[in-house]
Amino acid sequence: MPLAWRNLIANKQRLLRSAAGIGFAVLLMLMQLGFEQAFFDSALVVIRGLDGDLLIQSVHKYQFATRNPFPGTNLDIARKVPGVADARPLYADWFDFFWKNPTDGKVFLVRAFGFDPDEPVFLFADVNANREKLKEPGTVLVDRQARRFLGMNGGASETEINGMKVKIVGGFALGPDFVSDGTVMMSDRTFVSLLRGSAPGVDLGVVKVRPGDDPAAIQQALRKALPDTMAVFTKPELIEFERKFQAAISSAGPIFAMGTVVGFVVGMLISYQITYTDVADQLPQYATLKAIGYRTGYLLRVVLEQAALNALAGWVPAVLVSILLYRVIGKVALLPLHMTAKIVFVSLGLTLGMCLISAAIAVRRVATADPAEVF
């Protein structure tokens, strides 16, 4: 270990150059990994924000961001099932609410959620704090973190949705995802009045189980009580259902994977060049060590250790820079970019992997170093 370390710090300028080279390749991978996670996270943020143990939806609903309304009578059935503390309706729409930017009058599609102000369904504190104000008909809460071209961030107090006047009575912080640019929240009555032409109906039933009761058992009971057209999920199950859909259906998965592969290959090449140059430069020293009697195996280990240290020298600053970049890009692009343990470990594994593999390939030189040739 000491030899590898001493080799590393012997030439500071060289260390800086190799750390920078590997660091940028790692940065490329970290960006891809971060974006991939933000993609999935943004799709799941609302589901995670539902205040329920069990969720009821149409059996035909294939992803969260689509309307499959069902009759509210199903919630009455649910409430009668023993063990159910409450079953509250959530009205939701992604493609029929057109919001007018109060500043420039331009019209954009927004996501809309409606619920009974006396029966909140979300865990979001800022939404719940304002729900009393939604009792007045024609009032909405707006997403202050929506894409800026929607103009939800200004101080406007009224605008139009679907050509009808609405009053803006408060805001919350949610952010866009890959389907919707922004969200409005309103009471169930306002929702139905603004939704023109489409059949009204509840999209999701948010069920709370009596404290102490097993959600899985209540889930079974609900399945028996409800018609075949209804499906019952636990909250983790619904999250998994959505995650599977996003992973399988969107092209996002392969795109991010390819971006990570590109970073990996670039890193391998940079690392190969570094190792090759280092070894070639120090060939006389290695040959001498061999001549004195050091075994080839020991020298190979030294080279690999040095490669690992180079990897870390690039990885650590890359992670630190990524944390900063995640914050900046996350704010600008309104994406939930966060450094997580998973990203840290995956990137570390990939970095060490790419440096060790390329070093192992470059190290053939050391193995064949003939002391006599060098002198």
Partner: protein
């Protein structure tokens, strides 16, 4: 005279320096190759998204497109009354003006009882508005009542797409008359084509009186830009007319600035450019560093800095150009692979090749000039 003498050996000298240590130069070439390939790949991804957004338009025949002035992008085109398109048709510049209808509805015959959303495009099959042969060959099929063609790239979630299968779309039972090859792009997970009459049956609340787009074909010799202005006045308020270029620019701007994808791929592109510059600089400065004693000797003999700078620049340009050609070839192959694996329309264009080549040359020259700074400081006395 002396100036001439000093410039002549520049390139041959650079060449001999590079070919002297083939292994090191080879390694340098590999580095340049990777740097340029990386830039090509990231550029490919970055422009693939708007290209995917333009998939439908790229496969349609029109010179101008009439749309509502609330047109956002292809999936949110707004709508306008058919009468406005009819006014446009009356112009002597216009050979054809045909309405296009867009609608989303539930496909109630999906796998596992799921009802995915299907994107339906309504049009008059006789007008041969679409380019793919697979569509035009089946015009007669489209004219049959309650029959649609389904895009072959429609996801498996929709169930089998066999000809003759009866499916429920919206509130209607519809027969799959056949498949066509175009691609779903970002229109959705499944796309179907229907004649105007069938579209109206699927979307009875709309009927055919409200269109989403008007595809306008001009008579031969008519200037699209001039005609766009005239037809705009004819069509009336609430609409706008796009030329092909305007449409391309509009959709590209939407995808790169309004969605997250622009930021995501843009940041990848930016990083790849930085990595590319770093690699080129590192390689060039290494090459110069290895030759430091030789260059110092030349300086001592009396070669002017300018001539040495010329040699370094020549070395830099030679390496970069030599690395560019295989990188371009590899990028071409990689693009094809990416198209297959991710269904993203990653395509090469002459503009891109020229732009990357110019950028590579610029990087070469800048790296050379920076390395030359080290040369200038090389004191012959220090070296010996």
């Amino acid at each position: 005279m002396i100036g001439l003498f000093h410039f002549r050996p520049t390139v041959p000298l650079a060449w001999r320096i590079l070919t002297d240590d083939k292994r090191r130069t080879g390694l340098a070439l590999v580095g340049i190759f990777m740097a340029i390939l990386l830039v090509f790949v990231e550029l490919g991804f970055f422009y693939a998204v708007p290209r995917g957004g333009l998939l439908l338009y790229d496969n349609m025949r029109f010179d101008l497109l009439l749309a509502s002035n609330e047109y956002e992008y292809q999936a949110q085109p707004g709508a306008f009354p058919l009468s406005q398109l009819e006014r446009v048709r009356s112009s002597t510049d216009v050979a054809e003006a045909t309405p296009i209808y867009f609608g989303f509805t539930k496909w109630k015959s999906g796998e596992g009882d799921l009802w995915p959303d299907i994107f339906v495009i309504g049009f008059d099959p006789a007008n041969h508005i679409f380019i793919p042969d697979s569509i035009n060959r089946q015009s007669a099929v489209l004219e049959r009542a309650d029959t649609v063609l389904v895009d072959s790239a429609t996801r498996p979630m929709f169930g089998p797409l066999d000809t003759g299968r009866i499916v429920e779309i919206g509130d209607r039972k519809v027969t799959i008359g056949g498949q066509y090859v175009l691609g779903t792009g970002f229109m959705g997970l499944g796309v179907a084509l229907a004649s105007t009459a069938n579209f109206a049956r699927l979307f009875p609340q709309r009927g055919s009186a409200i269109a989403n787009l008007g595809a306008i074909r001009l008579k031969a010799g008519v200037d699209p830009d001039r005609a766009a202005g005239d037809l705009q006045k004819l069509a009336g308020s609430g609409t706008r007319i796009f030329t092909r270029q305007e449409l391309d620019a509009h959709e590209t701007a939407y995808w790169t600035t309004r969605t997250s994808v622009g930021i995501i791929f843009g940041s990848g592109l930016l990083i790849s450019l930085v990595v590319g510059i770093m690699i080129v600089y590192q390689i060039v400065s290494t090459q110069v560093g290895r030759q430091l004693s030789q260059f110092a000797t030349l300086k001592a003999i009396g070669y002017p800095d300018r001539s040495l700078a010329g040699t370094v620049s020549a070395m830099s340009l030679l390496i970069v150009i030599a690395g560019f050609v295989p990188a371009l070839a590899a990028a071409w192959g990689l693009y094809s692979l990416i198209r297959q694996e991710t269904l993203l329309p990653v395509t090469m264009s002459e503009l891109r090749v020229l732009a990357v080549f110019a950028a590579a040359l610029a990087m070469a020259v800048v790296s050379a000039l920076l390395s030359v700074g080290a040369l200038r400081r090389a004191d012959p006395a220090d070296v010996f």
